[in-house]
């Protein structure tokens, strides 16, 4: 046991300072207000304070820090997307992830594992080749590999998948990684807090006041705040915030479920995704298998998990890894995914001056946390979209210029 931990345990006082300050009252006004203290909101606050010198900022959270989709995802980080806009954006994110632990002075357990997207049909293999070529064009390490390579890298896999969906190949993405998701929110939160940003938990936004087509302030459960800039980063609650300002978007909400097994000896190094079997799985440093599947099949604003989900996902896991039959499932949970029709996010400036959107993060938001913070802080500080997010703007739908990223979704939703 480290000496420091022992001393902490025996102490009557608690010498470790809290990670965030608690503020008794809201101020009457801020230079910017960020709604949502998840990874995206806190990262935006962090870079606003660090890179743009905007420190008079409040982050409002109706629950607690990192309690939404930041703490509910399956922690997979990758940049093997399909569109040039997506590949460039997520690749920048993977770059930012590399030195984040050092930046925060907090161990994120960032672990590069390699990422396999399995193909069980020739049609799927075609998409893998397409993604590999787009990736390579932008300098991202992805390649189409055959079934022998998959078997060599994952010796425990049943390559025939119980003879009903034999694996014909895969997209192999060497930079694929996992990280400890709670620590990402804490790291960004602490960094922002130390630079003067105020984080207010249990503070719900109930309305947004506008004046002459501009944002004037935010109504909250703890009173009114005047501010010229509001960033909305609330994932599954986005439509409710957008109703307050009368903005229409294609965002619709489906629950997304996940589960985790009891810890077992390390046997799975890479991250495995199978679109056809609707599975993604990785093994954490503690030995647990973290597993996810496709969206629940209909709109719902409830994070309740179901037995159907565990049964279905377990059956598909056993197709690939039959020896897991005796392993128990420890926990299951769900989050609210804000889906878009083209599987790309909706980011940047909106028709309402001073209202900025970071939404439509559906099932793919965690990996983008650092780059969202970077690009949205730039957008909020300057009032103009960052060049990396120009493919994701809200007006792409009225221009019929979608950024079709469905082929790069982890599973066939």
């Amino acid at each position: 046991m480290p000496y420091r931990l022992l001393r902490f345990g025996l102490s009557r006082k608690h010498p470790e300072p809290p990670m965030f300050r608690r503020h008794a009252a809201l101020r009457g006004s801020y230079d910017a207000v960020i709604i949502g203290a998840g990874g995206h909101g806190l990262a935006s606050a962090y870079y606003l304070a660090r890179d743009h010198g905007m420190r008079n900022v409040a982050v409002l959270e109706k629950g607690y820090i990192g309690g939404g989709n930041t703490g509910r995802n399956t922690t997979i980080i990758r940049s093997n997307y399909l569109t040039p806009e997506g590949v460039k954006f997520y690749d920048e994110s993977v770059r930012l992830w590399q030195d984040l632990s050092e930046d925060f002075d907090l161990n994120l357990f960032y672990s590069t594992r390699g990422h396999f997207t399995l193909a069980h049909t020739d049609a799927a293999m075609r998409t893998m080749r397409w993604r590999a070529e787009v990736n390579k064009h932008f300098g991202v390490r992805s390649e189409a590999v055959d079934a022998d390579f998959v078997k060599r890298m994952i010796p425990m896999i049943d390559i025939t998948c119980a003879h009903h969906a034999p694996i014909v190949g895969a997209l192999y993405h060497a930079p694929g990684a996992i990280a400890r998701h709670d620590a990402v929110a804490w790291g960004y939160g602490r960094g922002a807090d130390r630079r003067g940003v105020e984080i207010h938990q249990q503070t719900e936004v109930t309305g947004i006041r506008t004046q002459g087509g501009k944002v004037a302030g935010v109504e909250t459960s703890r009173g009114f705040i005047a501010t010229p800039k509001v960033l909305c980063a609330v994932a599954g609650y986005t439509p409710r915030i957008l109703d307050m300002v009368g903005l229409r978007t294609p965002i619709y909400i489906h629950p997304l479920q996940a589960m985790v097994s009891e810890p077992v000896k390390p046997w799975l190094d890479p991250i495995i995704v199978s679109g056809s079997l609707h599975v993604y799985v990785s093994q954490t440093a503690r030995g647990e298998l973290v597993m996810g599947a496709s969206l629940d099949p209909y709109e719902l604003h409830q994070a309740r998990s179901t037995l159907d989900f565990v049964e279905g996902l377990s059956a598909h896991m056993l197709d690939m890894f039959p020896f897991l039959g005796e392993v128990k499932i420890n926990r299951q949970w769900a989050g609210l995914a804000d889906m878009t029709p083209d599987f790309a996010p909706i980011m940047g400036v909106t028709p309402l001056e001073g209202f900025y959107l970071d939404a439509g993060w559906g099932t793919w938001g965690f990996k983008a946390t650092p780059v969202c913070g970077k690009t949205m802080s730039h957008t909020v500080a300057t009032g103009r979209n960052h060049p990396l997010i120009e493919g994701f703007t809200i007006d792409r739908f009225s221009r019929y210029m979608l950024t079709g990223e469905k082929g790069a979704a982890s599973v066939g939703h």
Binding site: R248, T249, H301, Q302, F397, Y400
Partner: protein, 95 residues
């Protein structure tokens, strides 16, 4: 397992059904503007509430209408697809 009452087949497990999105009235594609059409094609009322939706019983290929609270996940009523035309339920207002 959740049960959905199909107007044709009676109570069946929800896994036998496919969700088809909200019941919405289309603008006239011949006379509406591009902006009205893209609003109809893409934009959705994403907030929770009591919504009228298309559902299909897959085994029998039967489409019908469900009135459901999307916050509480409670089905309030199910109707045959022509219920609005026959005047059993009020029609969806035009956009």
């Amino acid at each position: 397992m959740k049960i959905l009452v199909c107007p044709l087949n009676g109570p069946r497990p929800v896994s036998e059904f496919a969700y088809g999105g909200s019941v919405r009235a289309s603008p006239d594609p011949g006379s509406c503007t591009d902006a009205e059409w893209s609003d109809y094609v893409f934009n959705r009322a994403g907030s929770p509430g009591i919504k009228r939706e298309w559902w299909c019983h897959i085994a029998s290929g039967y489409w019908f209408i469900v009135e459901r609270d999307t916050l509480r996940d409670v089905v309030l009523a199910t109707f045959p697809a022509d219920a609005a035309r026959k005047g059993f339920i009020p029609p969806v207002p035009a956009p």
